[in-house]
C-alpha cells in the first residue's frame, strides 16, 4: 500500500500550533489596527536554516509577525462572512453581562495557510468571532477539524466566563494567568483533548480551585 503522505520524510503532524485572541473591527474601519490581544505558540517552529541562525530578536519578531498575519486574515475572513450574510459587522453592541454569550450564533470559519506563508509548514486556521473578539487556533494540516472547532468554542466560552469579558474593562489583557490556566488544562501543549461534558466540568472545577477569583 503506497501512500505519498507517509513516504515524505516528515511524518504528518496533528496538533495545535498556536492559539490567539485578537480584536475584530467593523469592515472598512478607519481607526486603529487589528491587534493581537493574546497569543500562545505551542513549541516554536525550528529556524529553517540551522547554519545561519537568525538572531533571537529576529526569531521573536518573526513569530509575532506570523501571529499578526493570522489575526489579520481572520479579521478579514470574518468581515467577509458577515457581509455575505448581510450582517454589516460583528455585533458590537454591548449587552448585559448577565446574558450568556451567544456562542452558537457566533460566526465561525476556517481557511488554509500554504507552506511558507506565513508558517514554514502548511497549516489550517479555525476561527470564531464573538462580539468584537476573534479567537483562532492554528492547526497542523492533519488535525481533526471537528474537534478543533468544538475546542475553540469551549475555550471561548471558558474565557468569557472566567475572565468576565462582558464586563467593561481590560480583563483579557490584565488576567493572562487565567488564560494560561485555561489553556494549560484544556489545550495542554497544543494537544486537543477529547473531553466529554463531565471531564470539562471536572477540569473547570480544578481550574477554579487553582485560580480563585
Amino acid at each position: 500500500m503506497t501512500d505519498s503522505f507517509e513516504d515524505s520524510c516528515v511524518p504528518p503532524r496533528a496538533m495545535v500550533h498556536a492559539f490567539l485572541i485578537h480584536t475584530l473591527r467593523a469592515p472598512k474601519a478607519e481607526e486603529g489596527l487589528c491587534r493581537v490581544l493574546y497569543s500562545c505558540v505551542f513549541g516554536a517552529e525550528e529556524s529553517p536554516d540551522d547554519l545561519h541562525p537568525h538572531g533571537a530578536e529576529r526569531d521573536r519578531l518573526l513569530r509575532k509577525e506570523q501571529i499578526l498575519a493570522v489575526a489579520r486574515q481572520v479579521e478579514s475572513m470574518c468581515q467577509l462572512q458577515q457581509q455575505a450574510c448581510g450582517r454589516p459587522s460583528v455585533d458590537l453592541q454591548p449587552q448585559s453581562s448577565d446574558e450568556p454569550v451567544p456562542l452558537h450564533e457566533a460566526p465561525c470559519g476556517a481557511f488554509c495557510l500554504a507552506a511558507g506563508d506565513p508558517f514554514q509548514e502548511p497549516r489550517t486556521v479555525v476561527w470564531l468571532g464573538v462580539l468584537s473578539l476573534g479567537f483562532a487556533l492554528v492547526l497542523d494540516a492533519h488535525e481533526n477539524l471537528l474537534l478543533a472547532e468544538s475546542t475553540l468554542r469551549l475555550l471561548a466560552r471558558l474565557l468569557f466566563d472566567h475572565l468576565r469579558l462582558l464586563v467593561p474593562g481590560a480583563n483579557l489583557l490584565l488576567r493572562a494567568d487565567r488564560i494560561e490556566g485555561i489553556l494549560a488544562r484544556f489545550l495542554p501543549h497544543g494537544q486537543l483533548l477529547f473531553l466529554n461534558d463531565q471531564f470539562v466540568q471536572g477540569l473547570e472545577k480544578e481550574f477554579s480551585a487553582a485560580c480563585p477569583r
Binding site: 500500500m1 505519498s4 507517509e6 511524518p11 503532524r13 496533528a14 496538533m15 480584536t23 491587534r35 490581544l37 497569543s39 500562545c40 505558540v41 513549541g43 516554536a44 517552529e45 525550528e46 533571537a56 526569531d59 521573536r60 519578531l61 499578526l68 467577509l80 462572512q81 455575505a84 448581510g86 454591548p94 465561525c108 476556517a110 488554509c112 489550517t124 464573538v130 462580539l131 481533526n144 477539524l145 471537528l146 474537534l147 472547532e149 468544538s150 462582558l166 467593561p168 474593562g169 483579557l172 489583557l173 490584565l174 488576567r175 493572562a176 494549560a184 495542554p188 501543549h189 497544543g190 494537544q191 483533548l193 477529547f194 473531553l195 466529554n196 471531564f199 471536572g202 480551585a209 487553582a210
Partner: protein, 930 residues
C-alpha cells in the same frame, strides 16, 4: 463591549520605556526573591507579561529577573497562578540565550509541563530532545508527584511533534505499552468525590506509591505495606496542588483510600507484571478464557480484593463483586453518554460524576493516539516481521492468525495497534448512542471522525486489520448516509475507502458517488465542511486513480462550495483546478466559472426557498428577492435553474441569459460580489492548467466560448471589466498557441466584430480580437486564408471603425478608448498590405482619421493625449503604406523573423529595414507628401 479599552492600553504598553520596565522588574525581583507569593506578586507579574507580550520587539529583562522567574517556576511552594505567569513571561522573551532552566530537577509533573513549555518555545532541537528524555524518565520511573502522569503525555506528544526522532526505540516501546494499557484498561468505576484530580493528585496517593515502589519488580506484589500506609494517611501538607483533598478527611475517605490503593496496586501489577511474566507463565487457554483483554495471571490475585478492577475481572462477575464490600462508598460504574451503565471498557465517551487518574490518562492517551501512531510509522522498528505479514495482506490466513494471537504476546507497537483497534471499534459503537448532553453529542461526532482516521492509519501500517475494519466501516457508511448531522464523518470514511478500497475489492465508487453528489449540494453553506471537503479532494487526488472521473465530473457540485464561500476557498480551488479539469470537461467548466456569481445567486435562492423559518438565515435578509423566488419556482425557468444547479457535468453548455436578468436583484449581494472578485483569479488558474494539454480542437472551442460569453455575463458591478481583462489576454494566448484558428473561425470572428456595435467593458476583448485578426489572418499562418476572407474582414472592421469614430459622436455613449481606434487602424493597414487593392481605401480612411484627430472636437471628446496618439498612429501607418513592399514586410513578418539571426546580423535585411522604417515613420510627413 469586550473590545473597548484594548487599543489605548496596548498602545501604552508599547510606549513604556526601559526605565519603567526596569522598575517593574525590580519589584518583581523583590517579591519573588523573598518568596512573597501574594496578590502583589500576582499583579506585578500580570503587568510584566502584558508589557513583554504587547510589543513585537523584544523586551530585555535583566538577568536577575530571569533567574528569579525560573526559580519561582521550579519552586515547590509557588502557587500555580504565579507559575503560569512566570512561564508565560519566559516564553514571551524567548528565544533567549540566558535561560538556565532545565526540567531535570522538577518533580511535580504539572510544573514540569510549564518548564517544558518554556524550553519548547526556544526553537532549539536539542532542547526539545532533552525535554523528551526528561518526560520519559519521569514516566518510566513511575514516581509521579503532584497531579500525575497525565500532565506528561501532552509534553511527549508535543516533543514528538516537533522532533520525531527525539525518543529512543526503547522509550517508544515503553510508551507504546503504557498507552495500550491506558486505552484499554482504565477502570470502569467512577472516581471519588473530593479528588477530582484523580488518585495520584492527592498527597495520600504519594504515600501509597512510596509504599509500592520499593517492591521487587516483576514478582508477586503484596498489598499490605501500601494498605497499612493508605489506611493511616498522613495529614496532607499544605501544598498548592492539594486543593482537592485538603482539610480534615471524612471517615469514609479512609475506605475510599483502600479502594484506591487496591486499584492502584492492581494497575501497578498490570503495568509491570503481566507484560513481562504472562507470556511465560500463563497458558494460552487461560488468556483466551479471560476475554480478549490480554490480562496476565498476576492481576487476578488483586481482583479478588478490589471492587474497582473492572478490566481485570471477568465481566459476568463484576456486579456481584461490588456487593462483596458494602461498607465502601459506591461511586458506581461509569455510564455511556445516554446514561446507560457502561457495557464495556472505558473510553472518552464514558461518563460519570468523577474520574480516576487512569481515566484521565485514557483521555490523554486517545487524544494523542493518532499522532503517536503516525510518528511510529508503518512497520516501525519493533516489528521486524512486518514485511512478512504484509505479503499475506488481506488473506484469510493472516486475518485468522491476527485475531487469535493474544494481544499481550505481541511486540509493543503491534499490541498498541491492537488496543487502538478495539478502542476505535468501541467508539464507533458508542457514537451511535443518543447523548443526553449536547456537548457530548458533538464529542461523539469528533470521536467518530478520529476513530475512522485512526483505523485508517492502523490499516495502512498493518493491513491485517483491513478485514476486520472493512465490515465495520461499511456498516458505518450506511449509517452515516442516513444521518445528515454526521455528514462530516463521511469524509474520513471516504478517505479510508480511497486508501484501502482496492485491496479489499470493495466497490468504493458508490462511496464517492454519494460523497460527490449529495454532500456539496446539500451542505455547500457549511464553511468548515466546505474547507474539509476541498482539502480532502486535494489530499486524495493522487489516490483517486480510476475513480478520478467521479470527482472530475462532479465539478459543478464542487463549485457550489466555491460559489458560496469564495474568500477562504479561492486559493484551494486554484490549487485543485489543474487536477479537476480535463479535455472532456474544460469547455463546460469555463462556462460555469464565468457563471459562478450567478450560481451564488441561485444557491441563495435555493436556501431561501428551502430553509425552515426557525433557523437563522444564511443569506442577506436586507436583499429582497420575492420576485426572484417566484421565478425560481416558476416551471418556465426550472430547466435553466436545474442546469445551473446541476450536480454533475452535463456535457453541454446552456445560455443562461434569462437567468442573468432574472437574478439581477441579487447581483448587489455581498456574497455575489465576493464571488465575482474571485472569478478572474480562477480563470487565470483554469487557463494555466488547460493550456498544458489542450489540442487544436479544444483551443478553438475555448476561443469561441470566450467570444460568445464575453457579452453574456451576469451583471455584477465591475465584474464584466475584470473578466474581460482576463479573457482578452487569454484569447490572445489561445490564438498564439493556434494561429490558424483565426482562419478557421473566420465566420464567428466576423460575427463577433459585426455584432458588437462598439467596445464593451473597456474594449479589452475587442482590442484583442482585432489585433489577432490583423496578426493571424494571413497565408503565412494558414494556407487556407483567401483574399475574399481578408476583404470581408477589412470591410467589417472598416465599418466598425467608422461606427465608433464618426457615426455617433454623441456624448451619451462612452467614448471609444484610443487603443481600440489605433488597433483597428493598424489591423486595417495590415490587411491592406496583404490585399494591396485595399491600400487606397485604407489610406483615405487614415487621412480622414488624421483630420478627425486634429479637430478640436476630438480633443474634447478624448483628451489631448489620446487624440495625439491616434494622430501619430495614423501618420505612421500612412507613411508605411507609401511603400507597399516595406509595409508588407513590416506588418506581416515571416515566422523566421523571430529567429535570433535576424536581429544579430546587421547584413541581413531586418535591421536595415527597421532603420528605414523608423526613419519613415518618425519623420512624419516631411520626406514624403502626406
Amino acid at each position: 463591549p469586550p473590545g473597548s479599552g484594548f487599543q489605548s492600553l496596548l498602545e501604552r504598553q508599547g510606549e513604556i520605556r526601559d526605565e519603567e520596565l526596569g522598575r517593574l522588574c525590580s519589584r518583581v525581583c523583590a517579591l519573588l526573591g523573598r518568596e512573597d507569593w501574594g496578590p502583589d506578586a500576582l499583579d506585578a507579574l500580570r503587568r510584566l507579561f502584558l508589557i513583554v507580550s504587547a510589543t513585537k520587539h523584544g523586551r530585555r529583562l535583566e538577568q536577575p529577573c530571569v533567574e528569579l522567574l525560573q526559580a519561582a517556576l521550579c519552586s515547590p511552594t509557588c502557587p500555580e497562578q504565579l507559575q503560569l505567569l512566570c512561564a508565560a513571561v519566559l516564553r514571551e522573551v524567548s528565544p533567549s540565550r540566558s535561560l538556565s532552566l532545565t526540567c531535570d530537577r522538577v518533580q511535580n509533573t504539572q510544573q514540569l509541563g510549564l518548564v517544558a513549555s518554556v524550553l519548547l518555545a526556544q526553537g532549539d532541537r536539542r532542547q526539545v530532545g532533552s525535554v523528551g528524555q526528561c518526560a520519559l524518565r519521569v514516566l518510566e520511573s513511575r514516581q509521579p508527584e503532584g497531579p500525575g502522569l497525565r500532565h506528561l503525555l501532552p509534553v511527549v506528544s508535543k516533543v514528538t511533534n516537533l522532533a520525531p526522532d527525539a525518543l529512543h526505540e526503547e522509550q517508544t516501546n515503553t510508551l507504546n505499552r503504557r498507552l495500550g494499557d491506558w486505552l484499554r484498561h482504565a477502570s470502569v468505576q467512577q472516581g471519588i468525590a473530593h479528588s477530582s484530580g484523580g488518585f495520584f493528585s492527592t498527597p495520600r496517593a504519594r504515600q501509597v506509591r512510596l509504599g509500592t515502589r520499593h517492591l521487587p519488580g516483576p514478582g508477586p506484589l503484596s498489598p499490605l505495606p501500601a494498605l497499612t500506609r493508605a489506611l493511616v494517611p498522613e495529614p496532607p501538607p499544605s501544598h498548592p496542588y492539594s486543593g482537592f483533598g485538603a482539610g480534615s478527611q471524612p471517615p469514609s475517605l479512609c475506605c475510599s483510600v483502600v479502594v484506591e490503593a487496591l486499584d492502584m496496586l492492581a494497575r501497578v501489577t498490570c503495568l509491570t507484571g503481566c507484560e513481562r511474566s504472562s507470556g511465560a507463565c500463563v497458558p494460552a487457554a487461560a488468556v483466551q478464557g479471560l476475554s480478549s483483554e490480554g490480562v496476565g495471571g498476576q492481576g487476578r490475585g488483586s481482583c479478588a480484593m478490589s471492587p474497582v478492577l473492572g478490566p481485570f475481572w471477568p465481566r459476568t462477575q463484576g456486579p456481584a463483586a461490588l456487593r462483596v464490600l458494602p461498607c465502601l462508598p459506591q461511586p458506581g460504574p461509569v455510564t455511556e453518554v445516554d446514561g446507560a451503565v457502561a457495557t464495556d471498557f472505558f473510553t472518552v465517551l464514558s461518563t460519570g460524576q468523577h474520574f480516576t487518574e487512569d481515566q484521565w490518562l485514557n483521555v490523554q492517551a486517545f487524544s494523542m493516539l493518532r499522532a503517536w501512531l503516525l510518528h511510529g510509522g508503518p512497520g516501525g522498528s519493533s516489528t521486524p516481521d512486518a514485511d512478512d505479514r504484509s505479503e499475506l495482506e488481506g488473506s484469510t490466513l493472516s486475518v485468522l492468525s491476527a485475531a487469535s494471537t493474544a494481544s499481550h504476546l505481541l511486540p509493543p507497537q503491534e499490541r498498541l495497534r491492537e488496543k487502538a483497534f478495539e478502542y476505535c471499534q468501541r467508539l464507533i459503537e458508542q457514537s451511535n448512542r443518543r447523548a443526553l448532553r449536547k456537548a457530548d453529542s458533538e464529542l461523539q461526532k469528533a470521536c467518530l471522525v478520529e476513530a475512522v482516521l485512526v483505523l485508517d492509519v492502523l490499516c495502512r501500517q498493518d493491513p491485517s486489520f483491513l478485514y476486520r475494519t472493512l465490515s465495520c466501516l461499511r456498516a458505518l457508511h450506511a449509517r452515516l448516509c442516513g444521518d445528515p448531522t454526521c455528514v462530516r464523518a463521511l469524509l474520513p470514511v471516504a478517505q479510508f475507502f480511497l486508501h484501502h478500497g482496492e485491496a479489499a475489492a470493495v466497490d468504493a465508487e458508490a462511496v464517492y458517488q454519494h460523497l460527490c453528489t449529495r454532500i456539496p449540494a446539500e451542505h455547500f453553506h457549511s464553511p468548515l465542511l466546505a474547507l474539509e471537503f476541498v482539502q480532502f479532494c486535494r489530499a486524495s487526488l493522487p489516490l483517486f486513480g480510476r475513480h478520478l472521473g467521479v470527482l472530475r465530473s462532479s465539478f459543478p457540485n464542487l463549485f457550489k462550495f466555491l460559489a458560496w464561500s469564495s474568500p477562504p476557498l479561492t486559493a484551494e480551488f486554484v490549487a485543485l483546478l489543474p487536477s479537476l479539469v480535463d479535455a472532456g470537461t474544460a469547455v463546460e467548466m469555463l462556462d460555469l466559472l464565468l457563471d459562478l456569481p450567478c450560481l451564488t445567486a441561485a444557491l441563495d435562492l435555493q436556501l431561501r426557498s428551502s430553509q425552515a423559518a426557525s433557523e437563522k438565515p444564511l443569506w442577506d435578509v436586507s436583499v429582497r428577492a420575492a420576485g426572484c423566488l417566484e421565478a425560481f419556482r416558476d416551471p418556465q425557468y426550472q430547466a435553466l435553474f436545474q442546469h445551473l444547479l446541476r450536480a454533475k457535468a452535463s456535457g453541454t453548455t446552456e445560455r443562461l441569459v434569462p437567468l442573468h436578468q432574472l437574478l439581477q436583484p441579487l447581483a448587489g449581494c455581498a456574497r455575489v460580489a465576493q464571488c465575482a472578485e474571485a472569478v478572474p483569479i480562477l480563470l487565470q488558474a483554469f487557463f494555466a492548467a488547460v493550456t498544458q494539454f489542450a489540442d487544436g480542437t479544444l483551443t478553438s472551442q475555448l476561443a469561441l466560448l470566450l467570444l460568445e460569453r464575453s457579452d453574456t455575463l451576469y451583471e455584477v458591478p465591475g465584474y464584466q471589466a475584470r473578466v474581460h481583462k482576463v479573457l482578452s489576454s487569454q484569447f490572445l494566448a489561445l490564438c498564439t498557441r493556434r494561429p490558424s484558428l483565426v482562419v478557421e473561425q473566420a465566420k464567428e470572428l466576423l460575427e463577433f466584430v459585426g455584432s458588437l456595435g462598439g467596445p464593451h467593458g473597456g474594449g479589452h476583448m475587442l482590442t484583442s480580437v482585432v489585433w489577432a485578426i490583423g496578426e493571424y489572418l494571413s497565408v503565412s499562418w494558414d494556407r487556407r486564408c483567401t483574399v475574399e476572407q481578408i476583404n470581408k474582414f477589412f470591410e467589417a472592421l472598416e465599418a466598425l471603425l467608422f461606427e465608433v469614430t464618426q457615426s455617433r459622436p454623441s456624448a451619451a455613449l462612452p467614448a471609444c478608448p484610443p487603443q481600440v481606434i489605433t488597433v483597428l487602424m493598424t489591423t486595417l493597414t495590415k490587411l491592406a498590405s496583404r490585399s494591396q487593392d485595399l491600400i487606397p481605401r485604407v489610406s483615405l480612411f487614415l487621412s480622414k482619421m488624421r483630420t478627425l484627430a486634429q479637430s478640436p472636437a476630438a480633443g474634447s471628446a478624448h483628451g489631448e493625449e489620446d487624440a495625439r496618439a491616434v494622430l501619430t498612429r495614423a501618420t505612421e501607418l500612412l507613411n508605411l503604406l507609401k511603400m507597399p513592399s516595406v509595409a508588407q514586410f513590416v506588418l506581416t513578418p515571416s515566422a523566421e523573423v523571430s529567429e535570433p539571426r535576424y536581429h544579430r546580423d546587421t547584413n541581413t535585411a531586418l535591421p536595415l529595414a527597421l532603420s528605414t522604417v523608423s526613419r519613415l515613420v518618425e519623420r512624419d510627413a516631411g520626406l514624403l507628401p502626406g
